[in-house]
């Protein structure tokens, strides 16, 4: 039998479980009383152990078993959740990860990992060994709290071990040939009536009394082993005509609650759950539901009056009508919510082979190209029906494209969450008190980007912690809170996603940076650099300000690599710093790597595509304005200076410029705006980005290519690259040009 796919699934699952375990552990640190977290951690460990057992990975099973034992103690409240325990468990989690990876890669653990494993094992056993004298932990108190709370809530209504039956016979019972007494007699066959009150307050004045009507009610304390349904069954023949409340004895309520807890995790309606647990009979549920719908229709009838008046909840109705106790409903509701949550999580993800997804997206890309072709033909033929049909097709294809692309979109939150652990560990290592603040975790971006942004972010976060944030004494002296902050934030802006890594540390020390840059020969000694240029020096290869190389950062590879990683994703990185206040590094990335909305422009016969997101507007360039722009190199745009870039010249296209007019496409990138001068504007197109391949890897100003509807290829302009090219030719500072020269050599060196 081929176990490979199953193994793959196991490794993927173990990975996920370990991540969950880590998240829960970190959360547990701040909420040690949250027993749900402990359960989560336990479940994760248990599942890994179980599955590893199936495959016979004894190392994993053996180690995880001890971890599980410790967790079990914690769960049972025999062990306190201290930071030490969490620290150990975190390391355990890492070791389990190492063990699983070792199995996945079919290799043995190395010596260091084995030693670590043994040390952890010893620690675990020590924990288990001196366990019995530990007092019960707070966690358990919390665990049992909600049960006891719900029990106490109902104990008022029913304080003894007896069922309480409250029945009011309907007026027509006697006429229907039923004798209330016979029901009570029959009830005696199920158990013993401890106490019975006859209620006759419904009896009217003698004159109005109808001897054929029944006015009686009974309150009965009843001791029985029978279930609620059986008891209710006694009154079956008069069920429709009488008002019956059956309140279970106290012992039963806790039983109901436990039944509820033990119900299989299927999504059930509240009522169904109560029926299953036996707290509610089917008939009671039906009545409750009809009451609810009556109430709902009543509400909607009043409708115009107040939209706030929502139809009452089934739970409330059931409690009001006394069918079940409040505690039972509460427990059921809690269970219902849990089930919903887990269901929602399960339903939210579907594991698909990434290759299949890529194939799909590639096909959608072809489809987009094909439909653009159809649209072209339709426009050419100018036939109304065909045009209409092709419009519909194009719109649908666009939707399909968006949906397909969104399949690849994942939230960045999970990536951010990983840094909680990093910050926790590193801040301890550095002896700084650092807190990580995360926002914008729900921002979506392409999976490929998410996968490849992790390393640069790691560098940046570590850098912030090591270099950015001052030692605690320095912070206090500067009047800052001792607890430093590192912030990760993500949001969408102008067709790109922006990720900020910020800290409230000391900011960059510009003098020091400049001195080091000169020392390392990155800048000429007499170079005059603006503050921004100095800040950007930290991205130069081989640059480091650290006086000492720590094992975290300072080897001078970090920021350069970060910049290159981000540029490889067609992104940019920018730095913003204020001495004494902090530093913010801003990463700007394209939303997706596959398809963009493109705007086609032409020069002579060649056409180029610009991402629509980057275009602000298009203006005509003709007449005297054109001549002036030509000689000055910029355009007066409503009082703003707009630098111009003649694409024909940049690209060395060997053809004369058109006689009468050219067009300027105004693009913005980050804070900069510029105008790109082209011959013609050719309108918007769906653009599937195709990489140009390795041969063109060093090509600047072009980020890729796309196939037009006509089958021709158009090059996609890299606006940022073009601006950089145009900018560098005009740059005077010797140091910067020098630096960039180095960069381009380094970047193009064969890897």
């Amino acid at each position: 039998m081929n176990l490979e796919p199953a193994l793959e699934a196991f490794f993927a699952e173990a990975d996920e479980l370990l991540t969950r375990m880590e998240e829960s552990l970190l959360q547990l640190e701040s909420e040690p009383d949250n027993d749900e977290l402990i359960n989560d951690i336990f479940r994760a460990a248990h599942t890994i152990k179980g599955t590893a057992g199936v495959f016979g990975f004894d190392d994993v099973v053996h180690f995880t078993h001890e971890v599980e034992s410790v967790l079990d103690r914690v769960r049972d409240g025999q062990m306190q959740v201290s930071n030490d325990v969490i620290g150990l468990l975190l390391r355990n989690k890492d070791h389990i990860g190492a063990l699983v990876r070792a199995v996945a890669e079919k290799r043995e653990l190395d010596a260091a990992q084995r030693a670590e494993g043994e040390a952890q094992m010893a620690a675990l056993l020590a924990l288990l060994g001196k366990q019995p004298d530990k007092p019960a932990a707070t966690a358990v108190v919390a665990a049992s709290a909600d049960v006891s709370r719900s029990e106490s809530a109902v104990s008022d209504s029913c304080a003894n071990e007896n069922w309480h039956l409250s029945i009011r016979f309907g007026a027509d019972v006697l006429r229907g040939g039923m004798d209330p007494l016979s029901f009570i007699r029959y009830l005696c066959t199920l158990g013993e009536i401890v106490h019975l009150d006859t209620l006759f307050d419904a009896l009217p004045q003698w004159l109005q009394l109808d001897p054929e009507s029944c006015y009686l009610g009974f309150e009965i304390d009843f001791r029985s082993e029978a279930s609620k349904a059986e008891i209710e069954g006694v009154f079956e023949f008069v069920r429709d005509e009488c008002v019956l409340h059956i309140i279970p004895p106290r012992s039963q309520i806790s039983e109901y609650i436990s039944v509820l807890r033990a119900l299989p995790e299927d999504e059930l309606k509240l009522g169904e759950m109560l029926v299953l647990s036996g707290a509610l009979t089917r008939a009671e549920l039906d009545r409750g539901l009809s009451l609810q719908s009556e109430a709902a229709s009543a509400v909607s009838a009043e409708g115009d009056g107040g939209p706030s008046a929502a139809p009452p909840q089934l739970g409330e109705i059931l409690i009001e009508s006394g069918a079940v106790g409040a505690g039972v409903v509460d427990a059921a509701l809690v269970k219902q919510k849990q089930v919903k949550d887990t269901k929602a999580q399960e339903a939210r993800s579907l594991r698909i082979d990434a290759d299949k997804l890529d194939q799909l997206i590639e096909l959608v890309g072809e489809l987009v190209v094909a439909s653009a072709g159809v649209q072209n033909v339709a426009q050419m033929l100018a036939q109304a029906q065909l045009t209409e049909a092709s419009e519909v097709l194009t719109r649908l294809v666009e939707e399909v494209r968006d949906q397909a692309l969104s399949l690849r979109m994942v939230q960045i939150g999970a990536t951010f969450q990983r840094f909680q652990r990093v910050v926790r560990d590193v801040s301890r290592e550095l002896g700084k008190d650092i807190e990580l603040q995360i926002s914008g975790g729900e921002t979506d971006l392409d999976k490929t980007v998410v996968e490849r942004i992790g390393d640069p972010l790691m560098h940046l976060v570590r850098n912030s912690m090591d270099h950015g944030i001052e030692a605690t004494e320095v912070r206090l002296a500067a009047g800052k809170p001792a607890r430093a902050k590192v912030m990760l934030n993500a949001y969408h802006e102008a067709g790109s996603i922006v990720i900020d890594v910020a800290d409230d540390g000391g900011g960059l020390n510009r003098q020091k940076i400049l001195r080091k840059a000169i020392e390392r020969g990155l800048v000429a000694e007499d170079a005059q650099l603006s503050e921004r240029e100095i800040d950007r020096l930290i991205f130069a290869p081989g640059f480091s300000t650290a006086d000492q190389v720590s094992n975290l950062s300072g080897r001078g590879v970090g920021m350069d690599v970060v910049r290159r990683d981000i540029e490889a994703l067609r992104g940019t990185v920018d730095i913003d710093t204020e001495p004494g206040k902090g530093t913010r590094i801003r990463i700007r990335l394209p939303l997706t790597l596959a398809i963009i909305d493109g705007f086609r422009v032409g020069i002579d016969k060649a056409s180029f595509v610009l991402p629509v997101d980057m275009i602000v507007e298009c203006v005509e360039l003709a007449g005297s304005i054109r001549d002036a722009a030509r000689s000055r190199g910029y355009l007066d745009m409503r009082g703003e200076v707009l630098p111009l870039l003649w694409l024909r010249e940049v690209f060395d296209i060997d053809s004369p410029a058109p006689e009468r007019r050219e067009n300027v496409v105004v693009v913005h990138f980050g804070q900069t705006k510029a105008g790109i001068v082209v011959d013609q504007l050719m309108g918007e197109h769906q653009t599937v980005i195709r990489p140009l391949g390795k041969l063109f890897s060093a090509l600047r100003g072009v980020s890729g290519s796309t196939i037009l509807g006509s089958g021709e290829i158009a090059l996609i302009l890299d606006v940022a690259g073009l601006m950089k090219m145009a900018g560098s030719t005009g740059m005077t500072a010797a140091g910067i040009t020098e630096m960039q020269g180095q960069n381009s050599r380094e970047m193009s060196a064969p890897s």
Binding site: V650, F651, L692, A698, E712, I713
Partner: protein
């Protein structure tokens, strides 16, 4: 049981075919000279046309073409080999070849003046290339094939189109 047997046979067959094909070459003309290309690396031959120029690239990179939805770079072979540009005629073709680039197979198009024929060149008819004197760089020549009409230059196409070398040229151009 039978499966294994026939499998072994197939392998042998494959070897034979491969050996046959390894001796087969596509010959083509560039200017006055005849060249040969191992048939195994040739994927298809298409009519010249639809080449989109890529700016700021060295002269031997003619541009890119759309090969059924894929973007394939096109190399001006005459320029690459002898630094003279070929003029496009009715018989100009693009030969799509598969080259190994850092262990990755990549398709590239080469422009040739005319495709001639597929010939068998047995190993014993291959002479080592001249170490100097030929108009073509010595390291691009895999050998000289002896045919009835005379010698053909057998190209080491992986080396001619090697990405690293090409990218290096490209960088020099960009830097200088």
């Amino acid at each position: 049981m039978n499966g294994r047997h026939s499998l072994a046979l197939t392998v042998v067959d494959d070897d034979d075919v491969a050996a046959d094909q390894q001796q087969q070459y596509l010959t083509f003309r560039l200017g006055e000279e005849s060249y040969a290309l191992g048939l195994l690396s040739v994927k298809e031959i298409i009519e010249y046309g639809g080449v989109t120029q890529v700016p700021m690239m060295p002269g031997f990179v003619r541009g890119v073409i759309n090969l059924r939805g894929r973007v394939v770079p096109v190399i001006d072979l005459a320029n690459r080999l002898r630094a003279e540009s070929a003029s496009v005629t009715r018989r100009t073709c693009i030969v799509i070849v598969e080259v190994a680039n850092d262990g990755e197979a990549q398709d590239m198009g080469i422009i040739v003046d005319a495709v001639s024929q597929v010939v068998d060149i047995p190993p014993q008819s291959v002479e080592p290339g001249p170490s100097f004197g030929a108009k073509v760089r010595a390291d691009f020549i895999a050998g000289m094939g002896k045919l009835d009409e005379g010698f053909v230059i057998m190209l080491d196409i992986d080396r001619v189109l090697a990405g690293e070398d090409m990218a290096a040229v490209n960088d020099m151009k960009a830097a200088g």
